[in-house]
Symmetry: D2
Subunit: 410 residues, 4 copies
């Protein structure tokens, strides 16, 4: 029986839990220590620390304070880990908390975070997904049920001061290029809502003032939102500080490539069972800058895909140069248009692409001026046949059920 | 025994073959006609029409005239096809020509086309790949052998005049934004090297003057370079002109996602056996703008991947906004650095990523400011173990073999 | 949160639990009732009801009273189910009890049950397997770790009296053909150790006297020991009595095709989360005699197999007529011989074949006089390379660790 | 371009081709020689040497002389191969002859060979399958099309005299136990129709008199009819004679596990492209008795199976002891009954099970007295949905098309 080193109480605020933090900083004290070879369990809040509720209103998605995210469990110190090592993490299993067998997916208001298709879906919307064993379905999106590709959206080791400084400089400079953009280009440190774990006094203040926000993935991994970093996978993390300082959170029951809905995948509170080992000096031995990983032998094995293409000409017909972001957006919009023919609303289709184990491939990236991206939609997750036929699509849904929407106050 | 409707003679110039063309234009005469339900074979040149040779010099890669590509077989008219239909194409099989059981991969000089990593590999280089049944290996890149994920890099139907005009306007305007860029942003029509198929006289001149270049993928599909459009897959193409006008070429024995080497995948001359059917009015019925497709039930089934992450901070440390192109470039560079630890030269590693069935995933595309892309490298294609271990990598290659390189003339 | 309809206390005897039974009989009272569409959880004992312990002695395997098995949870009554229906069961998830994260595998003494290779391994032996999240390994068998293909060895609905009578007649007659055989040909009803669930008085006595033993799979399914009936699969069971009466037990963390070690797979106590539905009149509609099922979308995805052939000539060189049992035995013995070259003892190799997700295929069954069976051993479960090479095998184990053995008393 | 070392002329009798033989004997002269590391092509007849025709009569299946089969191409001598070595064979590719893009499947008359279900299908029947690229379908069995899992039914090395003598003794003794059985238990040497390759004079007579018939799989491999020995797989064959003497034939475009129809899979004439290497002394190094192999990375990847169970109680209700042959027969009969509900005749359903990439698993083989076997039917090969639903099956076929049948003469 593995030991649960960090517990979270979903009824209590994460700010009251000293084994949780929401910024990246080398001075965050280790929440606990383990030895190489140990396996152990960490419980985690959902990324918003419990702000989003299991109900039929999107007000919470509209109103959430995004300066508070992500609440991470850790950092876990690994004895003997030194800068330059690789920390090898086996994700032995991941699950939802037994008293919280549900998750949420949503779109932020364009004025509060937005998302990949925020120009098309500018208002806050939410869908709730119930977990039935290894499967999930939503009362807001009929006709679809699938097995969870459970994974942590966010996992990685503490940066050292030099890397932290580089991050902050790089991003603050970047924000300065368009300081008034909505949504913003990036998020600077923000002391008011920082949670510095066990730190106290001046150290706490320093972390709050300098701590990097957790939203972007960076060199150490972090919020990569890689759906394939699923339970059963093995990850090799760069180590920057003594003890490594591994933190994890933002668990997803399932997600499509890109996490296009931003809020987010199917977000949940839960636990991670992991085992850690070290490759001494591994960063130099293998020339590692970013984490590398090996996928799990046990993941949902959907195989019959319908694949949508997109090219880097945007919705207004404007040409972009080998821009995979634009190309993938077109592929997503093409898939949404297709699903609408079966009766889904645009919002429901968008949510399916954000939650189901959809693949996004960088198909061609050299054929000037157009990149080509493909979106792979597994057909087996639908309770009806979505393949094209000579007879044309059958409208399976009557539109009576949709996702809750909450408009910004005027 | 299916009929071979178009034959090509690899010893003769494609310009002498009236069933071949190298531009997109609605006025290109149909090379032949078939009925819905028919299956048939089309032979094709390699994309350069035979310019690149099976030898140990990269001079041809350096010197190739890219205004001549791609040489396509077709267009095939399908009786009864009308604008707005979907043309359903089953790729029943694809193969190399029996007298040409080899292919090439290369990097163009930065001054003649470049490629995804042209800043890192600015000179012309080439590797030759021999086909051994369903497998391939290269005398220029030891230690790697894999099964071919054979596919056409380029396939699609003729545009109508309206779509053609839109393409030309969009791209010519785009070129005008940086007219002197090397490599260029895009390629405008170019009459001198146009091949207009069977067309003669004024029609031929019109096609040459207006015909869209074949390099970029566009709304009709075209040069998508999607490795998963492999033999056994089923594609649904939008139809824009009476008879559809299906053309195909640029066959690849294998390719990694992105076709990052540009010149190109493992390029070959060969043949395509296909079957065509129609979904009348299918574009409106299914809301189709770009082609959609279903993958093949029979493709190389590599499963043990080593996955590299990249984020949208470039090699110089500069921050880009959710730029998947930049993120994928970092993932590729990370993989190259890793493979060099086993003794590969950078060029060999780059060529492996361009030719093997590597996957490129758009993993996260909303976590401002960083996109996250992943490159999936199948470990089973190597003759030795490339997984990270506590002992560190073993140098398997002594550097005595490398890819030919040809420098630009001063 | 699904309701747990049946709980088991691993510290208490299963005979004290009225929601458990160990015989098949139509008169066993329903333990509880559900509606079609419901999902719920049943806890189960391991098949021996807790007799086998997590220790390093095989005495319990040697001494277990096989008339007591299998302890099943149920029967669950499904409202509206009638004879002739199909009961559709979704296995939403399966797991070990949180206080019992281990399982056992063993070989019975030839004098107490035996097994597939009892002539070669006539003595009681045992291995204990620890569960680490989705993975397992054994302190008695070094060098192997794999993901669990978790499944119930035994699941099915109550027979009606007519079917029960047929079973008893068929098997008792069969025993009579070799009444003194060791191990026996089959097992007749045996009142003394019968557990009739909630039944009392005369009904209880009738069940004890007539109740069919649970070891063999039969028309209703029952102890099929099909490893692919794993969590995520969907099963269609014939219904013979009002309310169906679904019972389940004999959970396996993992098993190879054939469950060749008999005692058994990796046996565990645990829980099953399932959902039930009905196809009214489904037996006649689909011509169903035995259950049918669809495999799970989420199972361990080992792919790199080493495959051993066996033909129906036995170890003594004797010819058998298209006998797949003999052929599979040869394939198993061939695999054991192979694994011994890497340092495994025969017992360890036998246990690996019984526990890991090994496939057994009926490859050829018409080429007189020899059947051909194949055993598929996944190479990825080993911590070292077991593929044949020109250099020959490397002995990875020094023989210092072996499975406990307990000899029969003289 | 690999060299074609053995060519066959489908218009000429195989008896006229000295590079072909139809018996196993150490004295058959090598047809040709190769070096380790070489790759080359061998053409082959279909197993009957062209007797079965592409027409709509089953007379040829009824009348074929089974003493003539199988016509094998070889033996190929490998320089340096010695008894005790392992011959490593890479099946680089396999295909049908370009002038023979079709295959046959049939059931023999019970009086001329029979088959797995000969009691149920006692008369000669035939279906013809057309090859469309990588796919096949039959004009005699509507509604089904699938990708070919192409493989040689028969491949192996020459036995030495000692092994040959053992085979003959074992089988002749066995026949003697039921000499008048129809179909027979096994087939003894039969000189009249023997084809001894290049042998002449006394050697030829000796081979004819002693040569083992090719029907059964034996220690050397031979007629294993393992569908997974498909193109792309790698096989390790025991070597018994100087030069190994590798022969191949009986090519199958596709086959279900068991090759239950006996005549046979989808039988075809074609070619095999292979590469050979040696592991010196490999038999002892790895404890090899029968061949072992590794499956191909590129095979049809059907995944959505409907799985039928069978137990070792036969059609008459008779109990058999852990008899997998009987259990698999029940699973097959259950699947046939199921398919009949969709409109297939029993013969068509039987033929589908014999030809499609159906899996047969040995699921449980220790639960006395019943073995449990499962038949895995891929649902994706059907043009309509064969899954069970609450609504019941829809009859998709009207019975107007069936397989030709030819009755035995009275």
């Amino acid at each position: 029986m593995p030991e649960t080193l960090i517990k979270v109480d979903l009824k209590d605020s994460p700010y009251n839990n000293p084994l949780v933090h929401n910024r990246w900083h080398p001075d965050i004290p280790m929440a606990c220590w383990v030895n190489p070879g140990d396996d152990f369990v960490l419980e985690t809040y959902d990324w918003t620390g419990g702000y989003i509720q299991n109900n039929d209103s999107a007000d919470d998605v509209r109103d959430v304070d995004l300066t508070t995210v992500h609440f991470l469990s850790g950092p876990v110190g690994v004895k003997g880990a030194e800068p330059g090592d690789l920390l090898v993490v086996d994700l032995l299993d991941i699950g939802a908390k037994a008293d919280s067998l549900w998750g949420f997916n949503g779109f932020f208001s364009k004025n509060n975070g937005g998302g990949f298709l925020t120009e098309h879906f500018p208002h806050a919307q939410k869908s709730i997904w119930d977990f039935n064993g290894m499967f999930t379905k939503s009362r807001h999106i009929p006709g679809v049920e699938f097995a969870g590709l459970i994974h942590p959206g966010l996992i990685g080791c503490l940066p050292d001061q030099k890397m932290l400084d580089m991050w902050n400089e790089r991003e603050v400079d970047f924000i300065a290029t368009q300081p008034d953009r909505v949504p913003p280009l990036a998020n600077p440190p923000f002391a008011k809502t920082a949670h510095s774990g066990k730190a106290t006094g001046e150290v706490k203040d320093k972390i709050a003032a300098e701590g990097a926000r957790t939203v972007p993935p960076r060199e150490h991994g972090g919020n990569c939102d890689i759906k394939d970093l699923s339970r059963g996978s093995k990850i090799f993390f760069p180590v920057y500080v003594e003890g490594a300082g591994l933190s994890v959170g933002d668990l997803h029951f399932s997600q499509g490539d890109g996490e296009i809905t931003f809020c987010g995948a199917i977000e949940m509170a839960g636990w991670v069972h992991m085992r850690v080992q070290l490759i001494k000096g591994g960063m130099a031995k293998y020339g590692i800058k970013n984490p590398i990983f090996k996928p799990s032998p046990i993941t949902p094995n959907y195989k019959d895909y319908l694949i949508f293409e997109g090219i880097s000409v945007d919705e207004q017909g404007k040409q972009h140069y080998l821009d995979v972001h634009v190309a993938y957006r077109q592929a997503c919009l093409n898939a949404i248009e297709y699903l609408k023919k079966f009766g889904y609303t645009g919002a429901q289709a968008y949510s399916i692409l954000g939650t189901a184990p959809v693949q996004g491939h960088i198909s061609g990236v050299v054929d000037i001026p157009n990149a080509c991206a493909t979106l792979w939609l597994p057909t087996e997750i639908f309770e009806f046949d979505i393949n094209p036929t000579a007879a044309g699509p059958v409208k399976m849904l009557d539109g009576s059920i949709d996702m809750p929407i909450s408009y910004d106050p005027k």
